[in-house]
Symmetry: D2
Subunit: 361 residues, 4 copies
């Protein structure tokens, strides 16, 4: 008898269900005597022993569905080791559930925060296998995370639609793209959508350069400018601030602006005669059916995770590198961030087709 726990944690994204289907189908194809415990709402379900037994029927028909059939919740790592309001030591509670159910392994689908906790559970002696889930694509150790390409598709669709209205009205349009502290989605959607200016956390921008780029386009007779800005984009001044001061500033801005696009719009409008408009696709970037790319990727990762479980290879994240599935030790993944390299070929190529990153004219 094989007993497997499974949970999805952190912000939801496309292909979570497809990935779980991959794991389950991979297990069921080799072993009949298996029990899968699905924990509800991320680590919360593991902490409070809230789960449902799952059969192969639960994993049928979910390849194309968005969201997660298990539910999820954001679990800040820092709270894990401290008893919360309810007086419960969360790590001990998770261990307790794991051992009480006599699990052979815990399968965790999540992003950066999730992986910190997963590594902690590994250190505590649990058998853990993880899958790299996030639209942000910022997980170290894998070339690609599932959810990313689906989010790029949606953000690009937004820019495409804005293009037509921008053309008609002669405006500056700012599209704010998700991605947490990294610029992967913005970079790809910006290139794919033909944005004129792309602002990323990894390439701090100079407002004057942005304004001059807009002006240059206007001078060349172009009716409009489209700016794709990452939700984590920062200015050169901000990038050079001491961390503490930056954090204070950001707290202040949070109160003033709903999000970064609003701040940027105000600053540009002050220096620019064209009307400035904002579009924030927001949570739609996490939603809907996964794109075919993500379905293939998540299915492959899921099946490979199943194989690792059957081979009793624990303590790893399943990853893809150079189109091959591989495994990466959790202790190497935890706490690292994969960011866009400002010197990467893709940045240079983007600049060649005329995209400004706001860092230089």
């Amino acid at each position: 008898m094989l007993r497997i726990g499974m949970l999805t944690s952190g912000g939801d994204c496309q292909a979570l269900n497809a990935a779980m289907r991959g794991v389950a189908k991979g297990i069921f194809s080799k072993v009949k005597d298996v029990e899968i415990y699905g924990f509800k709402d991320g680590y919360k379900g593991l902490i409070y022993s809230d789960f449902k037994m799952m059969t192969d029927r639960d994993f049928s028909g979910i390849l194309t569905t968005g969201g997660t059939i298990l539910g999820t919740s954001r679990q800040p790592f820092k709270l894990m080791r401290e008893p919360g309001e309810d007086g419960i030591d969360k790590v001990e509670a998770m261990k307790h559930t794991y051992h009480k159910l006599n699990l052979d392994c815990l399968v965790v689908l999540g992003g950066n925060g999730t992986h910190k906790t997963a590594n902690l559970l590994r250190e505590e002696g649990l058998n853990v296998v993880t899958l790299p889930k996030t639209i942000d694509n910022d997980l170290w150790g894998t070339d690609m995370t599932f959810g990313f390409q689906s989010a790029v598709d949606i953000a690009t669709d937004t820019i495409d639609k804005i293009h037509t209205t921008a053309t008609s009205h002669s405006r500056v349009f700012i599209v704010e793209v998700m991605g947490h502290k990294v610029g992967w989605v913005t970079l790809h959607a910006g290139i794919a959508g033909g944005a004129d200016i792309v602002l990323l956390p990894e390439i701090p921008y100079d407002l004057d350069v942005v304004v001059k780029s807009i002006q240059k386009r206007a001078d060349a007779g172009k009716r409009f400018t489209i700016i794709a800005v990452a939700e984590g984009a920062i200015t050169k001044e901000e990038a050079e601030m001491p961390k503490k001061k930056l954090k204070e500033l950001q707290e202040k801005k949070k109160k003033k602006y709903p999000s970064v696009a609003y701040e940027l719009a105000e600053k540009i409008q002050n220096k620019c005669s064209q009307e400035v408009r904002i579009t924030v696709p927001g949570h739609t970037q996490r939603g809907g059916s996964p794109c075919p790319y993500d379905r293939v990727l998540s299915t492959r990762l899921g099946a490979a995770a199943a194989e690792m479980i059957l081979k009793k290879e624990f303590g790893y994240m399943v990853a893809i590198r150079e189109d091959k599935i591989c495994k990466v030790p959790l202790k190497e993944v935890a706490g690292k961030l994969k960011t866009v390299d400002p010197k990467a070929g893709i940045i240079k190529e983007a600049k060649m087709v005329g995209i400004s990153f706001g860092d230089e004219m």
Copy 2:
């Protein structure tokens, strides 16, 4: 020789190009000796005599494209009769251009504001034919405007995507839908997207009823609630205010909230334990390729407008009623608004499938 002027005015929307293609193809199919003058950026082009001569090639391949090949601009009717900063009497300027070019007719594509000006030009003796363009579907005299169904499709897609993330996270999600002062897009997208609560300008809502509806769903074990709110939605208190006081209030709110969804979110969050999130698809609702429904509608209206021009029937808006193209006198259209009837069958049917309009429990 037939000389036709053409312009698109007001906020852009889908199928403007398809409609102009319909007019042009309809004319070219019957008359060879014709000149079409395309005025740039709405009435502005007519005022300042800024136009381009158009051939059949200009109208080829634009059935599926978004935006308007002529550009557009918002032209507040109230400024029309007063000389602006440039000292120009705009109405006289438009008449001057019309007569100077020896036009037989002016084809105008636009929404409510545009129709007021079009009617004014008619009163001034110009031959005018108009087409009902707006995502808001608020033009009196026609069952349907082009742009509407495309906007419904996009707003519904937003709600669909939010559904998956709402399910995963157990939240209240507010999706703000365009529509100016009427609720057509919100009503249709709300039903099509399976929203739980739909708030329209035509049915003022009671915040307590909204909060109770959320609570009722939570009590019934539903993880989430999705609210589709029209950008023009108002509360019962606001609906009963004197107009002047309401306007003052709305001015005040404009400074505090980026848009109505932010205000509603704040109010609900104050009374509700579930996290509240906002999505504002915004201008994307006007963008992208027109949906097939709008392409058929706009092509039909365009062809019918062509026939009216050839028959020298001027002073009308081309409309569709009971699936038949007809013509409506401009003087009847101008200044009227087509709103959602709170007693219409569709409202009753929506309530039967469990949608709350926030007006009653």
Copy 3:
């Protein structure tokens, strides 16, 4: 206690689930003491008493899903009254199931064939309410059937995609569109996709006119011609044949050609130097999530059917006319076909924008 049977019959289409959800939610919103019996695979389930009890959970989350949760099967009306191989009198068997389960009413979703049987059951004394389901839009008594607009969207998307490859390669492209014996889907998708030639069952075509239209385009420097042909399109010669002879001919052609597009391609290729290519989107036109238009329509029809049931108004099809839900006696619906009127405004308007129907130069 209210006992309702429900079944979907005939070819599947989009929004069947949405319509059933409308009925069920409409019933549950008013009556608590209700049992819904879902018969499997159309009338077959009623004949062989194969059903499942359904709760409100079965109808949750199906607004956007394709297909039918009940399954369906094609039930040729002519077999209904004759005992089949199994010796069962199907009509008696259906009555038996109905009475055995003590049903108050049978809700039937289907197209033309389905309505004949539904009317037969009504004549036999059963309480029947039907909903107009078909992509073909050929049901008499309703302006619109659900499934139609979704099918138009898919067929239009096919023509859109073919457009780009047609442009690149200088070819004649034939796109075969579903619609059984009527041309509704082809007509709308043809206009929406910008097809150059549209061939409908209701307007028999002359091959020479088709070939001349292609030639005329080539002479005018157009690289390609796109033909949207209805699966039921016929030539003028065929239209004038005695019925029996036509049937024989069609049987013969069925053996020679996979479908009408292959025959047409062969005939055109014989008279035309450009390469001719075929695309048959086929069953995809019935598949996938219903478009927002169909979701609204089917929800409204479903809710209205619920109200009819609660009011004990039986023997009707729920319909939409002039955007209002109404009821049409089943005896009037059964056996009639709603076809495209060759003299309708939409045909004239389509001709004005240059579409050839192959009937005249």
Copy 4:
């Protein structure tokens, strides 16, 4: 002065325009004194000196458009060296045009056949740079070709739509996917669409295994089976035939069946009680707007090609390997085929989730 010729050859696909835009924008961003000659309809334009001068405006707004603004035609390599009906030595004619226009370089976008000719021109002393264009993804030397992911998206959408109708009707559905002699598109779309059986040229199938797999699903209570078959799929018997005999057989089958799906359907229907249906998305797989993935890839490849031209690095195909742009000598590319490795991880992973390749039970 820099003089560049450009042409697109072979079957069209998505992102051809995006790639040319990348090249042109990349060149214009560095050099002002440049002339771009666009040859029409592939090598034909080079042979017959049929071209148009292109400015930066020609490359604006084409990132998202399907097809190719230059047109294309299939140019069988074998005819290149022999004078055709018109007595012209095609290679000499191409050289003549190249030298007459005093070109510095010829940019060629195409697939396998195109690359053979491009290499031939290189051998003849022309400066050639190529870009890997094909939905088939069968070009040796690059991890990915543009067009591939867009085709996968469309084929997957077809399978998705068929899923709903398959579920409703209890049928076997065969979806025929493009890919010429390789199985890349079918493999990826098959996994992404959740096909039950996937038949590839690289893994010859056994009809009995296919039929048994269908039976096995039926026995397990699954209503339907979906088969994704590559247009180039072959049986084990065929794979073992001498080449000449196989060719004869294939010629014979071409006369009998419109395409491989029809043959497969007939064979399965003979051994299987469930109804078998066919869907052939065909040329739609090449059409429409490129997906964001292809837009990014083609833009990067285009920009990199521009840089190679500016550095006078000729005789290469621009490629992507391990997410980095690189260059591959044309002589290495020409005549090679990149096929799916039956032992690749992705095949194993697909089998783990239950996909049958028809090679073993």
